[in-house]
């Protein structure tokens, strides 16, 4: 096997093992309901994490996505509440704004040579601040179009539902994989992650690629915001605080190096599922206090990382001796 796929394989293996362990303890966890929930409940996180994967692959980071998701939700809610605009048009408008927002951050990062961490941190303050300014209340969205979108699901045998947003996440992952591995833009992203100076000498259009990466992340955060507003039928400026850290964790658990240049979009999906599994497991257990929940999440995160390291090390050694 090509050693590039090692982290990915390790992650998939860990997920399957963990799932098996969970089922052994709570047989209910095998139900299609749980699987359907895993997709639906993590749809918005997954979509945003695809964008984060690209950003991290290029050696950057985007801390603004949680705030952008909240902003999108509030924006949609305010727009649908106070105007007669059709939700689809509102979606388009929201996506244009968030994409432009991402592109602007990318442009600042490139042209002013500022570290992404800080630019996107300021972006996070700005987006969350804009959401507050739009409305500090949580605003319900009662548009009939939302209702009809939500009634659009496929019932799996066993009562689980494959919802529109769950399906959308899978589609976004597929498209993400395609972009990462089958387009010139994708190759340029990896090139950037391998080293900006070298990539520049090799003729990669650094500026354009950087702007496009953050624009893509902004677009997907906007899409994630739309999904979140469908998920909750509301817009709320305090929603999705800290989602960027969940996304980063999912990306890294999925085997992508934070230093950039190495990793897979598909791995991020597994990372998302692993996190969802941890959550589900904790709820099924149902005996943990607030603090033990936090401690356990931390420990499980640690265990996954350690296991991944061990698996990679092990097969690396085996290869060397073979």
């Amino acid at each position: 096997m090509n050693p590039r796929y090692l982290p990915l394989t390790a992650t998939v293996a860990i997920f399957l093992i963990a799932y098996a362990v969970c089922i052994a303890q709570y047989p209910n966890m095998l139900s299609t309901r749980v699987i359907g929930n895993l997709l639906t409940d993590n749809a918005f996180l997954g979509i945003a994490a695809v964008g984060m994967t690209f950003v991290i692959l290029s050696g950057g980071i985007d801390l603004s996505i949680g705030a952008v998701i909240a902003f999108t939700g509030v924006f949609l809610a305010v727009l649908l509440q106070s105007t007669a605009i059709h939700p689809l048009a509102a979606f388009a408008l929201a996506l244009i704004i968030t994409t432009a927002f991402g592109a602007m951050m990318g442009a600042i990062i490139h042209h002013l040579e500022m570290p992404p961490f800080i630019v996107t941190l300021a972006g996070m303050f700005l987006a969350r601040g804009m959401a507050f300014v739009l409305s500090i209340d949580s605003i319900p969205i009662k548009h009939p179009f939302y209702t009809s979108l939500k009634s659009f699901y496929y019932v799996l045998p066993g009562g689980g539902r494959l919802t529109l947003i769950g399906g959308l996440m899978l589609v976004v992952f597929l498209v993400g994989i395609l972009i990462a591995h089958r387009t010139r833009f994708g190759a340029d992203v990896y090139a950037l992650g391998g080293g900006t100076a070298t990539a520049r000498l090799m003729g990669v259009p650094i500026g354009r690629t950087t702007v496009m990466i953050y624009a893509l992340s902004g677009f997907l955060a906007g899409l994630s915001g739309i999904v979140f507003s469908l998920y909750t039928s509301a817009g709320y400026s305090l929603a999705t605080v800290g989602v960027e850290l969940d996304a980063i964790a999912a990306v890294v658990i999925g085997g992508t190096l934070l230093t950039g240049g190495s990793g897979f979009v598909a791995g991020t999906l597994i990372g998302i599922l692993i996190q969802g599994l941890i959550q589900t497991y904790i709820t099924f257990d149902g005996s943990l206090s607030s603090w033990w929940t936090k401690i356990l999440i931390g420990l499980l995160l640690f265990a996954f990382i350690l296991l991944q390291k061990a698996l990679i090390l092990l097969s690396d050694r085996r290869r060397r001796h073979a």
């Binding site: 961490f117 700005l126 507050f132 980063i248 890294v252 206090s289 607030s290 603090w291 640690f302």
Partner: protein, 341 residues
């Protein structure tokens, strides 16, 4: 000697200038800003508030600077603050002496740093993720100690650390100034500073040159843990209680911001503790300025974002070279005129 002094002045100029501009802007919004008086044995006024309220971020920034110089990052400092505050409160309410309490608390902080350091240096886990583990679990541990409540105490000695005063300055100010000075001297008067920078720039080459990279990395995270412990003690002593739920919440971002505003690159290497401390004061000035200005809280984040972007734009290499270019052009202009004649 004057040469190094001059180098210092050049290095710190952008931060000092940014701080001055912000203070000036705040004083426009709130005229009584620079007023100082002597009250309750200490100086009293908004400027002192900035120094005092900025203490936790300043302390965190000291450790964070060193960690960032090694090309790392420490997301766990907020959680470690919470743990240490909780430990201090628990120990003092259990009737232990102040000395013992401080010792245990500081050891706890260092231990947390050791954990992070081992994860990064020995297990070779990426710093962001390694410290994310403690960031998530740490607050849980702190809540475990306080059982989710605010653990209040009224030991006068411990309270003194948070709200007492010495030499006319609040204790937290004395602590961060003193500790900052100690660390700055420690890294600059010994070879530590250079070795840390070497590790941050090229860990492999440093190892091959005989630098104990592992030990240095672990030490950096331990220092960060120690700083978080001090910040945690101050935060708890300030409100006379350990608030495990909120102590240090999101403060890691402020600390990182302070370091970056201080001009240390997130890619490791060259660092300056003094500049980071200035960065911390810049951030606190923004916060205090917002509170004094009387804007509705919905605007807090936008104002903060705008000011930070402005500072960073001014500090960015591009803007600086443009500035140099402009001043060069201006210097060249008279010459041209002469040539024309």
């Amino acid at each position: 000697m004057t040469g190094t002094l001059k180098a210092y002045a050049v290095r710190l100029f952008p931060q000092v200038a940014a701080l001055a501009i912000i203070l000036f802007m705040v004083s426009l919004a709130f005229p009584g800003f620079f007023k100082l008086s002597f009250q309750n044995d200490r100086l009293y006024g908004s400027l002192i508030d900035i120094l005092n309220r900025g203490a936790p971020v300043a302390l965190l920034a000291i450790g964070m600077t060193v960690v960032i110089a090694t090309k790392g990052i420490d997301l766990s400092v907020g959680a470690v603050m919470a743990i240490c505050g909780a430990v201090a409160a628990a120990s003092i309410t259990a009737g232990h002496s102040l000395a013992f309490t401080l010792l245990v608390t500081i050891s706890t902080g260092i231990l947390c740093g050791l954990w992070n350091g081992v994860l990064v240096a020995v297990l070779d886990i990426q710093p962001i993720i390694a410290t994310l583990v403690l960031m998530v679990a740490g607050r849980g541990i702190a809540q475990l100690i306080t059982e989710g409540a605010i653990l209040t105490f009224n030991h006068p000695g411990l309270i003194f650390i948070g709200s007492g005063s010495l030499f006319g300055l609040p204790m937290p100010v004395i602590i961060w100034l003193g500790f900052g000075l100690i660390v700055a001297l420690l890294v600059r008067r010994t070879a530590l500073g250079m070795l840390i920078e070497a590790v941050g720039v090229n860990r492999r080459a440093s190892r091959l040159s005989g630098v104990s990279t592992g030990v240095l990395l672990i030490a950096a995270y331990m220092l960060s843990g120690l700083c978080a412990a001090l910040a945690g003690i101050i935060a708890a002593a300030d409100i006379r209680g350990a608030d495990a739920n909120n102590a240090g919440l999101w403060l890691e971002l402020d600390a990182i911001l302070a370091v970056v505003v201080g001009g240390t690159s997130l890619l490791g290497g060259r660092f300056s503790i003094a500049a980071s401390l200035l960065g911390a004061m810049i951030i606190q000035s923004i916060n205090t300025g917002i509170l004094l200005s009387g804007f509705p809280p919905e605007f807090n984040l936008i104002i903060k974002a705008a000011i930070i972007v402005l500072i960073l734009v001014i500090q960015s290499p591009r803007a600086q070279s443009a500035f140099i270019w402009m001043s060069r052009a201006r210097a060249a202009e008279p010459k041209k005129e002469q040539e024309a004649k």
